[in-house]
């Protein structure tokens, strides 16, 4: 096996490495896995996902069982693996959407850095080996398919085989990875359909979400189940926090702006048109999402930092809306998490003393479900608040108040806001899953893992929604840019007055 390690496709090598970061205590041996081959992209991946997976002890058991029969990289079936890597894939998939049209070379570059693929020349010699490996691995995968990790293993197959096609097919393969991943994930979790739907650009985001919500509504109305079940349906909660409405309103503003921009462009010609197009092009650049792998090897930031950061960014936007609702929701979530482990551990101990096993399971089971429900609720709330902020920003930008910032500056700030929000969501989801694994130590993986998956999935869904909502702001800022060129700056002063205070 050691010989094989050297020739593995880097995708695999890298994922192993990433897991290892979180898993180092339990799995020191695997340190030798080929990370010397591409130290740069490794660290980049780790930074880009920013996810240090929390490996719960119970997964080690699972892991070691599988280890005997499957090749090394297949052993990483613990949640750590899925959590770190599945999400990085998701985020690179959505980043790809934003980047298409930016020039193939930059896309490929991005693909290489985010998927950890070295230059084509470097890899071409290895492709054959990888192909052979994939074949054997596929067989092994099928034996895993039925188990609780079925979803995971299918994904890994998809990616392993796409590992090759990325090199061969470039951009197409990237799209394929994105689609395939969504498909595969959706298979495992029908409620996830909406993200799959996002790949279909014919439907608007709010339609997709609405459908998902309706399905959930149907589901909950048909199932004669507990009240608590309703509390874990992301779509329903997202709607309850008015996320859908704000999204729909944002879409309306976006569409209307787009129509106006187009009509302006149609009315221009010659040099005038060219200069405007150039300016719009610059604006668009700000909307190709910044990499998520900023240098920050962020450790847990203080509670105030997020609040401060977002508030500062919003003040740079010069719109009279403040992210207080969002930061409040976020801080509430953190306070809740902080209170969890202490509380439930104490409860468990007490219970144990009194009852000697038996009922303790019942107690902790309630707790992990509580955490799960709260996690989903928080994610839905934060996402709804984020989209509300984007909607308000769009309204205020169109409202044409104070214009001492340019549309481009605003776009750049908004892009940063998007990054900060997505990071925050991923961080929060990690907090939740840590909490789940801590509290659910004694749980069977069968009951714990689906909850952890759900949290990770909804977190990456949330990030996609926020990124898509961000994209809806583009036509709005385009329109604002055009209007600023034509309007004299004296006009705005009277407009902002009544808004300033009441």
């Amino acid at each position: 096996m050691s010989g094989k390690d050297g020739t593995e496709t880097p995708v695999i090598a890298e994922t192993s490495r990433t897991l290892e970061d979180g898993n180092c205590e339990s799995d020191k041996n695997s340190e030798s896995v080929d990370h010397s081959a591409m130290p740069e992209s490794e660290s980049e991946l780790a930074a880009s996902t920013g996810r240090r997976p929390e490996v719960k002890p119970s997964s080690d058991l699972e892991t070691s069982k599988v280890q005997e029969t499957v090749s090394k990289e297949e052993t990483q079936t613990g949640w750590g693996y899925w959590g770190s890597w599945g999400k990085s894939l998701l985020s690179s998939a959505s980043a790809t959407v934003a980047t298409v049209g930016q020039g193939i070379s930059s896309v490929i570059e991005k693909a290489e850095s985010s998927l950890g693929i070295p230059s084509p020349s470097e890899i071409s010699s290895e492709v054959k080996v990888a192909a052979a490996e994939t074949n054997t691995r596929e067989n092994e995968d099928s034996s895993l398919g039925a188990g609780p990790f079925g979803v995971f293993s299918t994904i890994s197959t998809a990616v392993q085989s796409t590992g090759k096609s990325v090199i061969a097919g470039g951009l197409d393969a990237l799209e394929f990875i994105g689609k395939k991943t969504m498909d595969v994930i959706a298979e495992g979790d029908p409620g996830f359909k909406r993200t799959k739907g996002l790949m279909n650009r014919n439907a608007t985001l709010s339609q997709v979400l609405r459908e998902a919500k309706e399905k959930e509504e149907l589901w909950t109305s048909n199932e004669v189940t507990m009240e608590t079940d309703k509390n874990t349906h992301y779509g329903l909660l997202f709607d309850e926090f008015q996320g859908l409405s704000h999204l729909e309103a944002l879409e309306m503003l976006s569409q209307e702006s787009e129509i106006k921009v187009r009509s302006v462009l149609n009315s221009l010609s010659g040099d005038e048109l060219e200069t405007l197009k150039l300016e719009l092009e610059q604006l668009k650049e700000a909307f190709s999402l910044a990499e998520f792998c900023d240098e920050e090897e962020e450790e847990k930031k203080g509670d105030e930092d997020f609040t401060k950061e977002v508030t500062e960014l919003f003040s740079q936007l010069h719109v009279s809306t403040k992210p207080e609702k969002l930061t409040r929701a976020r801080n509430t979530a953190y306070e809740w998490i902080k209170a969890v482990p202490a509380k439930t551990l104490a409860e468990n101990k007490e219970e144990e003393k009194q009852l000697e096993g038996g009922n303790t399971e019942e107690v902790s089971k309630n707790s992990i479900e509580d955490i799960h429900a709260f996690a989903i609720r928080s994610l839905a709330e934060l996402t709804a608040c984020s989209i509300e902020l984007f909607h308000k920003t769009a309204a205020l930008v169109l409202h044409g108040q104070r214009q001492n910032v340019t549309a481009i500056e605003r776009s750049q700030t908004l892009s940063q806001v998007t990054v900060v929000l997505c990071k925050e969501l991923s961080f929060l989801s990690r907090e939740f899953t840590t909490s789940l694994t801590t509290v659910g130590v004694k749980e069977k993986t069968d009951s714990l893992n689906p909850l952890i998956t759900a949290v990770f999935l909804e977190a990456s869904n949330s990030a996609s929604y926020i990124q898509d909502a961000f994209q809806l702001l583009l036509p709005v800022l385009e329109l604002s840019l055009i209007e600023n060129r034509t309007e004299s700056p004296t006009h705005e002063l009277q407009v902002q007055k009544p808004l300033a205070q009441q």
């Binding site: 109305s221 048909n222 004669v224 008015q242 309103a249 503003l253 309204a395 169109l398 409202h399 808004l499």
Partner: protein, 216 residues
């Protein structure tokens, strides 16, 4: 939780007439004398019962400020009902009704049900617009009319519910195409399944589906 229909409402009218207060009174049953200026649009939702059917009202509470006017027009699309609000203590808010009405008619479906509301009826001593004037304006333009007080909650329920009743009546008369979402009406999740269900999707619990849905 489930509903037979969802109606989209918009609330429009000059700034400060009490649009957001009406919404708050309707959804939360409380009154807040000082309200932030609405930016763009805010939302509220509540379930009501019309003829034994659960109907979800999805309410878009728009900004009344003149400077937001061009933005709020974007939000009219796909509304089934509109509450056009003026303040009975400020005549100018009444005088602006024609322009609001033009906007509403121009940017939404022709079938949209419009309820004219003279708000702040608790401030009788400061009344500036007679009740009869409101009634006359409504009659002239084919609107429903009510005077309300968001503060005392007088007629607030009725204003929202009567609008829903009128929409529901139009649906039953076949004036609204409920399958066209541009009309601001959506069939609830259980109903839609009756027309587009796959096997096994038929709801077991058909309590809310009503007699005319033909489900199951």
């Amino acid at each position: 939780m489930t509903y037979a229909y969802l109606f989209k409402y918009i609330i429009i009218g000059d700034t400060g007439v009490g649009k957001s207060c009406l919404l708050l009174q309707f959804t939360d049953k409380r009154f807040q004398p000082v309200h932030d200026l609405t930016i763009g649009v805010e939302f509220g939702a509540r379930m009501v019962n019309i003829d034994g059917k659960q109907i979800k009202l999805q309410i878009w509470d728009t900004a009344g400020q003149e400077s937001f006017r061009s933005i709020t027009r974007s939000y009219y699309r796909g509304a089934a009902g509109a509450l056009l609000v003026y303040d009975i203590t400020r005549r100018e808010t009444f005088n602006h009704l024609t322009s609001w009405l033009e906007d509403a008619r121009q940017h939404s479906s022709s079938n949209m049900v419009i309820m004219l509301i003279g708000n702040k009826s608790d401030l009788e001593s400061r009344r500036d617009v007679k009740r009869e004037e409101g009634e006359a304006f409504a009659r002239e333009h084919g609107l429903i009319f009510m005077e309300t007080s968001a503060k005392t909650a007088c007629n607030v329920e009725e204003a929202f519910i009567n609008t829903a009743k009128e929409i529901y009546r139009k649906i039953q008369q076949g004036l609204f195409d409920v399958h066209n979402e541009a009309n601001g009406i959506k069939i609830g999740p259980q109903q839609s399944i009756a027309t587009s269900a796959g096997p096994g999707a038929c709801p077991r619990n058909s309590r809310d589906t009503g007699s005319d849905s033909g489900c199951c």
